[in-house]
Amino acid sequence: MSDQPIIVSASPHVHSDRTSKKLMYDVVIALIPAFLVSLYVFGLQALLVTGVAVLSCLLIEYLIQRYILKSAVTIGDGSALITGLLLAFNLPAGLPVWMIVVGSLVAIGIAKLSFGGLGYNIFNPALVGRVFLLVSFPVQMTLWPTAVENNTTLVDAVTGATTLGLIKEGVQFGQTITELSPQIPSVTSMFLGITTGSIGEMSALALLLGGLYLLYRKVISWHIPVALLGTMALMTGIFWYVDPEHYANPLIHLLSGGAVLGAFFMATDLVTSPVTKKGMVIFAIGIGVITVVIRLFGSYPEGISFAILIMNAFVPLINSYFKPRRFGSKIKVKMV
């Protein structure tokens, strides 16, 4: 016997060794490859943006919980760290520091803590921060520094449009895809990440690696990424097949504009996605459709952030409509 009194609690008396903290740190690990790519192409700028975003998210969460909410401080659980990382991943390198801090404030303060903290937020905090910055500072937020291989500088004068931005603008001004094609980076460079865009969306390869790690660790299930990317491919494929001169091919859509980042890291956020597999598929299809609609017919070249936020709002509804089948309900008794 021990000196301390014996413990009595209800069953079960064993627990799996998975904890929410471990889940969060798995996500962080999965983000590392994409971060390394961004370091490679954007250099210290990427480090600066990511560092500021992460630190300000942690600090803001600490300050608000400590001094305003006067509740337990939970910065150790890794969720604020992820919010910071994902926010940075959705920002262009070279964004002014104060804007990043504003974005973190919106992400943590408004989108997360004002809803009750981890587990209670309806919208993905990082995306709320990003979209807030996008609509408030449209110019700075779309000033994309061009990727330079093996970049080590802090200053980057050369800026360019993203692939999707190029196509959108070009098509609007009456150009065809064939005419634009010299400016569109090759699929390989898009896949590897030598392209233009926000910090984390560069390399589909690195993101896929991270995504596969999450799948392997069972942090996420395949349903959301597959259904989301599948829907996007199918829809853009149809348009491309009908009119290849005005609509870009599905590969371009999948490899740019944060589609992979969104599909594996943003839409799969545990808190803001449905709980059942059926619900996840519906949710992901919804995101896919809205993204494609925004990309092809809206005023923004990219649309996955908006699409995810819109579908986030439907999660409670999806949860209450797409329930697992109860054991023993709706069955025909089969007799041998």
Partner: protein, 295 residues
């Protein structure tokens, strides 16, 4: 420019008129008659919606009061006799006066006198821990200490004493709605008459075990020794399953039982200090108690 202003004014006014017409017609068409007395009675009731009367809220209690012919068995514990008198006047029905009561906690098993022999891990709720086992101490009748009664109290009349780990009733705030009584899975809390100056004498224990076992679990437990029973001049004390109970209907608050109780399990409240020189009996610690023969 003028046109657009004019247009919108006309449109909005038109909309307003149509909406008003619809509302008027609907309210006339679907008008439901309701006894105006119900609203009147509801106005008299405290409006706490505590369900202490047995109805889910003051509104439904008012309906019940108006619709029943005999309301003598209906009583609003929060409003007390004063409110019931007003209700009686408004409705012209007889009511029965009731003595004001107050909640008392019949357990003195603080951390000090009732040592913990196990540690409960799980949701801090008496109802949930009571499902699993008999509690952290060896007494399976006493307070579980997780404060379901405090949560149930809608009048802020209860709090958990951090030192003793037991709930405390703030008698001035207690409306005797009885929510704590139903919330307690152990049935520790009882509504007892609030005498003048809130004088009360009651047995602060519910342990039905034999003396020795009860005493071992908690040093202030009722051991069923029947000393109080013998000394009580009014036969107000009943002994059942090794446990004394003081019936408030017969108790005259003479305090004799308090003096004889060897384990100090009978509680007196708000009495002036005794004038007669008393030998202070120190709290007995491990004095072996002879188990009394079964009652």
């Amino acid at each position: 420019m003028t046109d657009s202003i004019l247009n919108s004014v006309i449109l909005l006014t038109g909309l307003g008129i149509v909406a008003a017409l619809v509302l008027y017609v609907v309210s006339k068409k679907f008008y439901v008659y309701e006894n105006p007395l119900i609203a009147e009675v509801e106005e008299l009731l405290p409006g706490a919606n505590c369900a202490g009367c047995g109805s889910p809220g003051c509104r439904s209690f008012a309906e019940k009061l108006v619709s029943s012919d005999d309301i003598a068995n209906l009583f609003c514990p929060v409003g007390g006799n004063a409110v019931m008198k007003q209700v009686s006047a408004a409705l012209g029905k007889e009511i029965a006066e009731q003595d004001p009561t107050v909640a008392v906690v019949r357990c003195q098993g603080s951390c000090e006198v009732r040592p913990k022999t196990s540690e409960y891990q799980g949701p801090r709720s008496c109802a949930i821990s009571a499902l699993i086992y008999s509690g952290e101490t060896d007494c399976q009748y006493g307070c579980l200490g997780d404060g379901d009664c405090v949560v149930a109290c809608k009048f802020d009349a209860m709090y958990m004493d951090e030192e003793t780990g037991l709930p405390v009733v703030i008698t001035d705030k207690c409306t005797s709605c009885g929510m704590c009584v139903t919330a307690c899975p152990r049935g520790i809390i009882e509504m007892r008459p609030k005498h003048k100056r809130d004088l009360k004498i009651y047995v602060g224990c519910l342990n039905e075990e034999k003396g020795g076992i009860a005493k071992k679990a908690c040093s202030v437990a009722c051991i069923g020794c029947s000393k109080c029973l013998d000394i009580c001049p009014k036969e107000a004390i009943v002994m059942n399953n090794n446990l004394a109970y003081i019936d408030p209907a017969y108790c005259t608050l003479c305090r004799k039982c308090v003096d004889v109780c060897p384990t100090h399990s009978i509680i007196e409240t708000n009495f002036p200090p005794r004038k007669v020189k008393q030998e202070e009996v120190p709290v007995i610690k491990v004095e072996p108690v002879k188990p009394q023969p079964d009652a």
